[in-house]
């Protein structure tokens, strides 16, 4: 049975802003599910509507077999971890963890034992008598997690769980969170605007834009087969090359003067206006004498650590980015040749809403 089922959910705020637009989503039991999108896309509203902190204007939310659309937050048996952790400053760590049980009228002894257990599970053993103000950011986050675990919820809801940590701690906490969710095997939904975080943590993820879900799938599906130009541009740590152009004969696309190769048998009629997409990671870069490659001039190289992001002018106003291993980076103004890996090429129709070509496999979908 799915853990969370959302059917044609609509949320309109009093001012008339439509945050969610007839949204459908099914989250499976035990899944670690990411809601990814830019700010203002409705991902936090969706999470808060699942929690019951926002009331749905239309549509339903079901947790397990229960329709919880009209229930108060406290009756939904979900636990939410807030971006700022919402630890109560006047309570000790132990009191914070035990607070949900206090509200649920659990006896004092059982409360203490449960808090102890949850604290132990998150290695907070020596900190139980401290107050939140005396803890580091990472410790505060673990207290918030312990408090959520102690309630034994049907689902965890995380609102930007890592954004309050500094960069180094964030990676550690990410691994920790993934292992914790796997060990508990409880459904968890988390909201993030960081595509790398979503790719790293999620079993499945949804990319949202303007109150609707653009695509749902595994991180690898969304990375390799983004359904729209928006998803393609949003996912990936180096931005994808997305170049408007026209399909020509001999499996080529003209993008404002330069021609880029299409996979054989792509099935798109010549003359069609398209958007040509290829990730910088899948663009090869050689010296200018390569056969059949796209010639260009290096405009800028950016150091990414173990690799370089090279921006190449291939025609007037048309730039293609490629990543190159360290030690092989060209200098600015060098003449180079680019070879896009045709099996990684993605082709979208002109507004960018439909994926026409994925690498060597042609999609049947045509407008």
């Amino acid at each position: 049975m799915p853990a969370i089922t959302i059917s044609s959910l609509t949320k309109v705020y009093p001012g008339g802003v439509k945050a969610l637009d007839e949204l459908d989503l099914v989250i499976e039991d035990g899944e670690f599910f990411a809601l990814l999108g830019p700010s203002g896309c409705g991902k936090t509203t969706l999470l808060r509507t699942i929690a019951g902190l926002e009331t749905a204007t239309d549509g339903t939310v079901a947790i397990g077999a229960r329709n919880v659309t009209g229930l108060a937050p406290g009756d939904r048996n979900v636990a939410m971890v807030f971006q700022d952790y919402a630890l109560y400053p006047h309570m000790t760590v132990r009191e914070n963890i035990a607070y949900p049980l206090r509200v649920k009228k659990v006896g004092k002894a059982e409360r203490a034992a449960e808090a102890e257990r949850a604290g132990e599970a998150l290695s907070l053993g020596g900190l139980m008598e401290r107050r939140p103000g005396q803890l580091s950011g990472g410790q505060q986050q673990r207290v918030a997690l312990a408090r959520a675990i102690a309630t034994r919820p049907d689902a965890f809801l995380f609102d930007e769980p890592l954004s309050n940590l500094d960069a180094r701690l964030r990676l550690e906490a990410r691994t920790f969170l993934k292992r914790l969710q796997r060990d508990l095997a409880t459904t968890a939904v988390f909201v993030t605007h960081d595509q790398a975080e979503a790719l790293a943590l999620a079993d499945r993820m949804a990319v949202m834009e303007a109150g609707v879900i653009r695509q749902v799938g595994t991180p690898s599906e969304l990375f390799h087969r983004p359904a729209t130009q928006f998803v393609a541009g949003f996912i990936g740590s180096t931005p994808m090359n997305l170049l408007p152009g026209t399909v020509e004969d001999d499996d080529r696309v003209d993008v404002g003067g330069a021609t880029l190769p299409l996979p054989a048998g792509h099935g798109v009629a010549p003359g069609t206006a398209v958007i040509y997409g290829i990730r910088p990671e899948y663009v090869g870069l050689d010296d200018a004498h390569s056969q059949g490659a796209v010639p260009g001039t290096v405009a800028i190289t950016e150091n990414l650590g173990s690799s370089y992001l090279v921006t190449v002018d291939v025609a007037e106003g048309v730039q293609v980015r490629a990543t190159v291993e360290e030690g092989h980076e060209p200098a600015a103004d060098d003449r180079v040749a680019l070879t896009p890996a045709t099996r990684r090429v993605l082709v979208y129709d002109e507004p960018g809403d439909t994926l026409l070509v994925v690498g060597e496999r042609q999609l049947a979908r045509q407008r």
């Binding site: 929690a51 902190l53 108060a72 939904r76 807030f82 919402a86 109560y88």
Partner: protein, 273 residues
Amino acid sequence: MNTRSFIGRVAFAGFASLIGAFFALPMLWLVFAPFNGRPTLTARPSSPTLDNFREVFDRDDVLPALRNSAILVVLAVIVVVVVAAPASYALSRIRFPGRNVFLYLLLLLSSVITGSASILPLFLLMFGLDLIDTYHGVALALAGGLLPASIFILKDFTDSIPRSYEESARVFGASSSQALRHVVIPVIRPGLAVIAVWGAVQVWGNFLVPFILLRSADKSPAAVLMYSFYDEGGRADLRAISAFALIYTLPILVLYWIVNKRYGFRFHGGIKR
């Protein structure tokens, strides 16, 4: 340093000292006069004596008056705290049209229409409610005067509490009154301490309202009792007044000390994390 700025600094220091002395003199008087066997209106050390205090405590209306003041303070402060906490919470959390205008009007009217301007309608109101010559009538009238500013101060404290505190309590199943009692009130405790002490000082020192609303002499608080230290001719009994003034001041000083030690005064919100 050139001569001009030197003269300027000397003039400024002299002026500041003058102002300081002006405000310090009554304090000095309050320290010296009670222990002076023959106090005058000058602040001058003398051979100390406790005769003035003996005389004050020989009167049988002094201790009851202090007790009456304490009763009024406790009643009024309870009303202020119990009403201001939920009111400020609601004003902080619920958006309704005209909320800010309402808040400013409340504060403005309560500070413009001071005790003496509103004393006649207040008297008629209390008369109509049959609350003349009762402690709770006086306490209600005084609390009403203190509430607008108290709500205004407390709202600032409540505004500084992240909404996520209450939202997380709600997800755990707490009702809004539980969220208020378990989370909001403990976090705004310094604010409650500020309005409680400030309210206590206002009530303790208020002369006009109990003077008008209380009829029986045995119900008079200390501020009203002091008025009886003048004889029919309007001459002040400086021995009694000076000693009583010091006794009258001490409880407030002690209150400040205790509350500051326990909660620390802060006049704005802000979560120390």
